[in-house]
């Protein structure tokens, strides 16, 4: 799985400021990772409200990285949870986690000059 991030758009979004981009990537890796864990726990517990709120927040968070597919995956979880469709939730969450990990790697690679 590659090229989740529209790197050109992302660099434009941060005005080419890699220092700031690094700050946001660190937030993604720390706060974002913590939210992913909470999402996973909510999914395991069948906690509808927790799923909605964590997926919603992750959706907003990843939207800052010009990675539409990751944002859409979070949005799908949020909408499904809002509708109460919890049965098919674990695979959706797992799929999102994979994308999230990939997003973290891609943005980190961008910072190290590997992805661009």
């Amino acid at each position: 799985m590659s090229n989740l991030v529209d790197q050109e758009a992302l660099l434009d979004r941060v005005d080419g400021d890699l220092e700031f981009l690094e700050e946001t990537v660190e937030l993604l890796e720390s706060d974002g990772r913590s939210l992913v864990e909470q999402l996973k726990a909510a999914s395991a517990a069948g906690d509808q409200e927790g799923l909605v709120s964590k997926a919603h927040m992750l959706k907003g968070m990843v939207s800052n990285f010009c990675a539409d597919s990751v944002q859409r995956a979070a949005e799908e979880i949020e909408h499904a949870a809002r509708r109460g469709e919890l049965d098919g939730m674990p695979p959706k969450v797992e799929g999102f986690i994979e994308l999230f990990d990939c997003l973290c790697r891609e943005t980190r690679a961008m910072l190290s000059g590997e992805g661009a």
């Binding site: 700031f20 919603h56 968070m61 939207s63």
Partner: protein, 408 residues
């Protein structure tokens, strides 16, 4: 602009904070609605950019609180949300949001929406400032009008300020009831008093009489030294009969008040307390603004004014003399005694005159008790006397009676 961000998601919050800072704004970022509300309590902001979904105080609740705080300066509110559904937009606008921005925000869009916000904030602040200036100017005008009103009859003042009357030279012919009063032997009395004492007594007298004029709805035309000219029927009229009746009732109330004043003055050791004569007539007069565009006076002219003055001169002290024309209007309500006709310059025939004795309802022994002697002045009207006021009257009368007990 001073901008407050309310956003619980850290990357969006930080991105906004950075972007707004780059645009030259003074930015404070709050990590949830509760902290944003606390910041708003401590400081003023021009613009609030708030997320929709936040734990605790949500974006909508935050807007409601801002809009409910009416004593605060205007704040422009942009809702920052990933939601785009119409019902959510409606809910946000109903709560008081001014604009929306969808996440992730576009830098250019954020900038133009902030420009719109800045423009509105400046307009609102300008409006508030102008409104305050207008209120201050209104307050000054009110104070000035209040001072000027002292030179006008309250009825005329009210009529002008309610826009019912114009300040331009214009008169009309109307049937009025005219009242004229004068202090008996005022010249001799004034010579026996210091100018300061004279001014004090005269002002006390004029104030008491003026209060009664206002109470009965008369138009106070002017004070002429110690004389008072009042008319009924313009600018407000209750009909000829009622106008005439109100005028006679006012005169009786004035004489009653004079009895009380005289007792007070005598008790204070004043010699030669004022006695007043009054004359009343009804008929056609010219009424309106007389004078020039520079200075005018709302007054009446005509033979009726001379007649009222003449009747006043012919009246015994402490009495009220009315013409035949007024008597015809009030005879069913006022008991009068016919007097010798009065000869008035300008009137072909002598004028029939009547001395006012009292109200007809008083004669039935109903609600009104009136008595006057050098030691006592009493006027008791029990028509609407009840409750606390009745108890007070009973107590005062009992105290008065106790002073007449043999031991006293």
């Amino acid at each position: 602009m001073r901008i407050l961000i309310a956003e619980d998601e850290p990357i969006s919050r930080r991105s906004l904070e950075r972007q707004l800072g780059r645009l030259g704004h003074d930015v404070i970022a709050a990590s949830d609605g509760t902290k944003a509300w606390q910041a708003l309590q401590m400081s003023n902001f021009d613009i609030v950019v708030s997320d929709w979904d936040m734990p605790g105080v949500t974006g909508v609740e935050l807007i409601r609180r801002i809009r409910a705080a009416r004593d605060q300066p205007f704040v422009y509110i942009i809702m920052l949300t990933s939601r785009t559904q119409t019902e959510d937009l409606v809910k946000g606008i109903a709560a008081g949001a001014d604009d929306f921005l969808t996440k992730p925000f576009e830098k250019a869009e954020l900038e133009v929406r902030l420009l719109a916000g800045e423009r509105l904030v400046r307009l609102e602040r300008d409006l508030t400032q102008r409104s305050e200036e207008l209120q201050a100017a209104q307050s000054d005008l009110r104070a000035l009008a209040d001072k000027l009103s002292k030179y006008l009859s309250p009825v005329i003042y009210r009529s002008i300020f309610e826009g019912k009357q114009d300040a331009r030279i214009a008169t009309q012919r109307k049937k009025l009831t005219v009242f004229f009063s004068d202090i008996v032997d005022f010249t001799a009395t004034s010579e026996s008093l210091d100018p300061e004492d004279l001014a004090s007594f005269l002002n006390e007298y004029l104030l008491a009489m003026t209060e009664i004029v206002i109470e009965y709805g008369g138009t106070l035309d002017k004070y002429i030294g110690d004389a008072i000219l009042v008319f009924f029927g313009d600018p407000e009229t209750l009909g000829e009969e009622q106008d005439a009746y109100r005028c006679v009732a006012m005169a009786m109330a004035m004489q009653q008040r004079m009895r009380v004043l005289r007792q007070r003055w005598e008790a204070a050791g004043r010699r030669r307390p004022f006695h007043v004569r009054m004359g009343i007539t009804s008929g056609y007069c010219n009424v309106g603004n007389f004078g020039s565009d520079v200075q005018m006076s709302y007054t009446i002219i005509g033979r009726q004014v001379n007649l009222a003055s003449r009747l006043e001169t012919e009246s015994p002290p402490d009495e009220i003399l009315i013409s035949n024309s007024t008597w015809a209007l009030v005879q069913s309500q006022v008991r009068c005694a016919r007097r010798d006709p009065v000869v008035v310059k300008g009137f072909a025939e002598a004028i029939e005159a009547y001395q006012v004795l009292g109200m007809i309802e008083e004669q039935s022994g109903g609600a009104l008790v009136e008595f006057s002697s050098p030691a006592l002045s009493l006027r008791l009207d029990t028509t609407n006397l009840q409750g606390q006021e009745r108890e007070t009257v009973v107590r005062e009368l009992q105290q008065a009676l106790s002073r007449l007990a043999p031991s006293n």
